[in-house]
Symmetry: C2
Subunit: 337 residues, 2 copies
DNA sequence: GAGCGCTCTTACAACGTTGTAAATTCGAAG
DNA sequence: CTTCGAATTTACAACGTTGTAAGAGCGCTC
């Protein structure tokens, strides 16, 4: 076994042809005599040749890699404990795999981290960026755009920006929750919203309130949560003390809904008999909860896949106009409401 | 804004020096006149220069990237729903970040996927591999080794292999659980093991059994689970029908422990009053569970970080002997036992 | 049989960086 | 006023690939 990896040159020597011919065989370009092709192929086999990615990237200006940037508000690396990101990763990997493109995981939770992300992409270390950003004031999309980096967002940008994104109709999701609670006869309904500086939270809340109003309930008490179990529990406690007679809760994600269920039960109330609880996302906690959560499904994996697809087509033919793909929510009825 | 990115050449022209000098300024190599250094630095600023990673990699033979390979037994991309992987990712990213190294996420859950991982690394697309492999028969470690790819495993390899790895003392973990259950007066104890073709499962079970035997309980009924909530629930149901008088359960991970708690409660029994439950891992489900789980802590994030550290030092000075880092478990007492 | 298209192959110049050996500068010593 | 040497700087050759323009080979047609 030679010390350093075999190169095109080595293969060419063994096969008795020129580098260029070997290159064409490797890349499957036409115009190579089938017989010669065979010779070359066996020479490749024999030498154990594997094309050097750096050299290839240098000339093609493509890396076969995209950045998957988690642009958390600043939560640090424990964002990964949220099941949401696992689902995003799953969807992205699933879509990218058949295309032989690989995601590089990056966290952009601080200013230095953000500039590093931008640098990384400017250096051509990845062909484009998949940006999962929750905060509408996140400066990253604009900076990537300015740097000419092809990017696609998960969730629409805070300020109007010419960039492609994937999103879902969060208002419609809120409406589904309201409709279901009202249809099941609940009259004293409250809601635990997500952080209100997140557009998705605002939309879920607005959709929920709109629908409740349309059903004849103009006022819906709400408490703001932070999409974490802890914050959800605290919000539920607050709501219960202020509105002891409540009989329905819509929580803006499953983590908070699950925590709410526990708090309700600890207050000696039964779910769904005394209080109905509707969650949002349909992620693992929805199934792990007892009773299992009725929830508004967000097709995260498909959305993530769509995001990857948008980016890939953008890389395929650059300079396209920004596009968006909006997904529809769906109510999943289980035991909690 | 120019069409293509500025190169060293461009900066050199603006600064009125040679490429090499600029290169040395960029890389912080000594022997550059401070004044000239300033000139060059402002030229860089002015041109908006950013070094091209592919070109740099080509000559340095380093990419600043490592592969984070999830070598699931075949579960597909839903492995990401297991909180375990989120923790691994968190630990890895946290450690790698200050070193400006980025992980490329890869799944090796099928034969073609495995060869793609090997190819990826042989092409020099990443400097090394972080392998999270649960199955001892996984052929990937050996193949990477054969390909001369620096790699580090999470969990010791199935067959003796000259490769560095990080692991924890799973037997000790099992012992901790047994000691605690016995100390709290439980006498009819059962266990839900992980999949028995996983070394960690075998060890946890063996450690648990050993300790129970030492405490005077030579026989411990067990049911095999698959580390998923569903399998844990099924195992618990089985155990309850066969051993209705059980008063203690040790489950090989928190997901299964949580499911077990639900099953126990559905049988009209109370946790921990009637049945004590001890989990393993101390991951999010342990806290999300009611009652919160007493569990054996596996410091996944730190282990993942250690794995990254091993790899990085290996890349720093190649050809080191394989090393291993073994972590100690710790009992976290909460409400369930 | 010369000329003309074909198809297939080859040489050679990029791509943008780093590292090394050679060249320059400049001050100090002889 | 040379000459030597240390401190900087420069020119140039890699690194391994792709793409392009030029070159062979060869079966046609006229």
């Amino acid at each position: 076994m030679s010390k350093s990896a075999p190169t095109l040159e080595d293969v060419a020597r063994v096969a008795g042809v020129s580098r260029a011919t070997v290159s064409r065989v490797v890349n499957g370009t036409r115009n190579v005599d089938p017989q010669l092709q065979e010779t070359v192929r066996s020479a490749i086999e024999q030498t154990g040749y594997s094309p050097n990615r750096a050299a290839r990237s240098l000339v093609t200006r493509r890396t076969g890699t995209v950045a998957l940037v988690i642009s958390g508000a600043g939560g640090g690396s424990d964002v990964f404990t949220d099941p949401f990101f696992g689902r995003v990763a799953a969807g992205v990997v699933d879509f990218l795999r058949p295309h032989s493109v690989h995601p590089v995981l990056m966290l952009a939770d601080s200013e230095p981290a953000r500039t590093e992300v931008v640098e990384f992409l400017r250096q051509g270390s990845a062909d484009g960026a998949l940006l999962v950003t929750t905060h509408p004031a996140d400066p990253l999309p604009a900076r990537l755009l300015a740097a000419g980096v092809p990017s696609v967002l998960y969730a629409r940008p805070g300020a109007p920006t010419p960039v492609s994104y994937v999103d879902m109709d969060h208002r419609a999701g809120g409406r589904l929750a309201a409709d279901h609670l009202v249809a099941s006869g609940r009259t004293d309904v409250v809601t635990i919203s997500g952080p209100l500086d997140v557009l998705a939270s605002q939309d879920r809340l607005a959709g929920f309130r709109d629908a409740m109003a349309r059903h004849g309930f103009p006022y819906v008490p709400s408490a703001e949560g932070g999409f974490t179990a802890e914050s959800g529990g605290a919000a539920m406690t607050r709501l219960l003390t202020e509105h002891p007679d409540l009989d329905g809760v819509f929580a803006a994600n499953d983590l908070m809904a699950q925590a709410a269920v526990f708090v309700i039960q600890e207050h000696g109330l039964r779910v769904p008999d005394d209080v109905a609880v509707v969650g949002f996302d349909d992620s693992t906690p929805a199934l792990a909860c007892r009773p299992q959560l009725t929830t508004v499904r967000q097709p995260v994996e498909q959305m993530a896949a769509a995001m990857a697809e948008l980016l890939l087509t953008d890389l395929e033919k650059p300079g396209q106009r920004p596009r968006s793909v909006i997904f529809e929510p769906e109510l999943v009825v289980r035991a909690s409401a």
